[in-house]
């Protein structure tokens, strides 16, 4: 049976086409991802090009309001950048950081969880206590701490250059215990099953048993938490940026855009904060709804009335 036919007959597709929430969310996520990644081509302005920015245009309201210009659909921010373009570029940064951080989290967490659950004993206790310690620090605290150290050690200019990588690392390192615990729990359950014993009887080595036999059987919870974690990571990034510890204003993410507009909200320029906020909420909402749907599909025992 070909892969295509297998997909066409799969239960996931079956339940997907019958769930309009899932379809809507999927479409919205696709659109958001598409427009943010195509932003260099579809955005009317390039917010990174300082030559095209005119401070005289600062705080222009959206085009349908009095004083608005058709050149700036959603108005401009405090520096005169077109808000719509900046927003698209910012969303791209947010999504990249979110996804990369989750990949890092998953990589660390899955490996640690596998080893911890499969080998057990002292190593298991050690790794899980490490996870407990890690979880007892909030992501924000770790991020503030690391960000401050980096800025102090290498200067703000260096920090601005490596902000994306740094944020990926901070958010990735702060949240791996989520994965490690989930994977460990399923590994403990899978390890009891006889096919693992059978694999050992066949003469396979531990690494192969872990990666080929146990890992695929633990993937469905990993998939589910991955979606939720992407949303969480984007939110963490936005929160950090809002606190001024994330992306610099020269290359704003959704969070830093909200932050930069926050200063002007009482002077009447509400749009600088509102539109990035709406996009952030929309993005996180649809990702979470998709995650919910995925959880219901992958876990038939969970009956939703």
């Amino acid at each position: 049976m070909g892969t295509l036919a297998r997909i066409r007959q799969s239960y996931i597709l079956y339940s997907f086409v019958r769930d309009w929430v899932a379809i809507t969310c999927f479409i919205v996520v696709c659109i958001l991802i598409l427009i943010s990644f195509l932003s260099p081509f579809i955005a009317p302005h390039n917010p990174y090009e300082s030559a095209s920015i005119n401070v005289m245009n600062a705080e222009t309201p959206p085009m349908w309001m009095e004083g608005g210009s058709s050149e700036f659909i959603l108005g401009t921010d405090s520096q005169g950048r077109d808000l719509f373009s900046t927003l698209l570029f910012g969303m791209r940064i947010s999504i990249i950081i979110g996804c990369c951080a989750v990949i890092l989290q998953a990589f660390l967490g899955v490996i640690i969880g596998l080893v911890s659950g499969y080998i057990g004993g002292r190593l298991d206790s050690f790794l899980m206590r490490m996870a407990d310690v890690q979880l007892s620090f909030s992501t924000m605290m770790v991020a503030i701490f690391l960000g401050a150290i980096f800025q102090a050690a290498f200067g703000v200019a260096m920090y601005e250059r490596f902000a994306v990588v740094l944020l990926v690392f901070i958010i990735g390192l702060a949240e791996w215990p989520q994965y490690a615990r989930t994977v460990r729990a399923s590994v403990l359950a899978e390890k009891q099953k006889e096919y693992v014993e059978a694999a050992r009887v066949i003469g396979l080595n531990s690494a192969r048993i872990m990666l080929r036999h146990i890992l695929p059987n633990t993937l469905s919870p990993v998939l589910v938490i991955s979606t939720v974690q992407v949303a969480n990571a984007i939110m963490s990034e936005a929160a950090l940026s809002f606190l001024g510890l994330g992306m610099p204003v020269t290359r704003p993410s959704l969070g830093s855009l909200i932050n930069s507009g926050f200063e002007f909200i009482f002077s009447g320029s509400w749009w600088i904060t509102l539109f990035p906020g709406i996009f952030l909420v929309l993005l996180i909402l649809v990702i979470n709804l998709l995650g919910d749907w995925l959880r219901d599909v992958l876990n038939p025992k969970l009956y939703k009335g």
Binding site: Y195, A198, V201, I202
Partner: protein, 328 residues
């Protein structure tokens, strides 16, 4: 001639918090190529642990405390993990009770078969697939080429167990250990699987150890029986003589407990009491609290496994010793 497998005074212990528990106590037996031996006993008698000790897969906290396991001349009890891994699935393979559980649900059976081959041989995917098809044909799976790409859930229980057997046969092992291979199957399929095992052993190259509590299965398949009780061998000899003329009170109890045709309508026989917890094995003969022929000596001294010529088997019981003074 060298035996295929020789267990010499194997002792398996489990190190628990409150002290060591002896699961297998001084077990010795030999097996030659083409032999089919049944390892019989109640749950917890140490049958499976004995089986696992042969391939060095006693999981922690268990360990082989003493004794030697000679397989084709090498001592498996003192072999390192790497060398053992080469023997597992290669020279010795094992079949488990539940075919639902022994196959990995997310891998096709083709993958699971080629994986075994490639763990032990340096061959290409195509060659491995060809060998897999050959073995599937050996266990009478129809259109094996198509079956390779299917997942375990696409097979019935009996077919799955046949696939498990096919995987066990992949490397032409010299010894197959079958741990209750038919317990999870219904009776008609059970017969099929037993026929298959017999057919495979008929070539005379492979030894079979059949671990089971089902005496009917044992009498159909095996030519030797080893009866275990609380970690010790109590009676060992040819299947025919033991089934028709059990000598040890425990074996007699087991065979009497089978629902026979003689006493239709009356209560089934059973051995009174339960097998002792391995932590509190009674002193002397471990069977004495349940034994109808208990004597004074049984509570004080453990009988030794001895060969009795007139019964053509080894028995560990003082009754025999008293009846036959002077036998070897």
């Amino acid at each position: 001639m060298e035996h295929l497998l020789e267990l010499q005074n194997i002792v398996v212990r489990f190190a628990l918090r409150f002290g060591d528990l002896t699961a297998v106590d001084d077990v010795s037996f030999t097996l030659d190529r083409g032999d089919r031996m049944g390892l019989v006993g109640e749950s917890g008698a140490g049958k499976s642990v004995t089986g696992f000790s042969i391939i060095g897969l006693i999981s922690r906290p268990g360990y082989i405390a003493s004794g030697r396991i000679l397989f084709e001349g090498t001592d498996l009890a003192h072999l390192n993990e790497e060398a053992l891994r080469n023997i597992r699935g290669n020279r010795i393979s094992m079949i488990f009770q539940d075919p639902m559980m022994t196959l990995n649900p997310v891998l096709t059976i083709g993958t699971q078969m080629t994986e075994t081959l490639q763990a032990h041989m340096d061959i290409t995917d195509e060659e491995a697939a060809a060998m897999a098809v050959d073995r599937l044909r050996m266990v009478h799976i129809p259109s094996p080429e198509k079956r390779l790409n299917q997942y375990p859930h696409e097979f019935s229980g009996g077919m799955r167990q046949r696939i498990v057997i096919a995987i066990a046969l992949l490397m032409d092992p010299a010894l197959i250990i079958a741990d209750e291979p038919t317990t999870a199957l219904d009776v008609t399929i059970q017969a099929e699987i037993l026929d298959l095992l017999l057919e495979l052993c008929a070539t005379g190259k492979t030894g079979l150890i059949l671990i089971t509590h089902d005496l009917a299965v044992v009498s159909q398949v095996t030519d030797k029986i080893t009866v275990m009780y609380a970690g010790r061998i109590v009676e060992m000899g040819s299947t025919d003589t033991i089934i028709h003329d059990p000598r040890h009170p425990y074996t007699q109890g087991l065979i009497n407990a089978l629902p026979g045709s003689r006493h239709t309508g009356s209560r089934l026989n059973q051995i009174p009491g339960m097998m002792p917890n391995l932590l509190t094995i009674p002193p002397g003969c471990s069977f004495h609290p349940r034994c109808p022929f208990m004597m004074d000596i049984c509570t004080k001294q453990a009988p030794r496994l001895k060969y009795y010529k007139e019964h053509e088997r080894q028995i560990s019981c003082f009754l025999m010793e008293n009846q036959n003074k002077g036998s070897i």
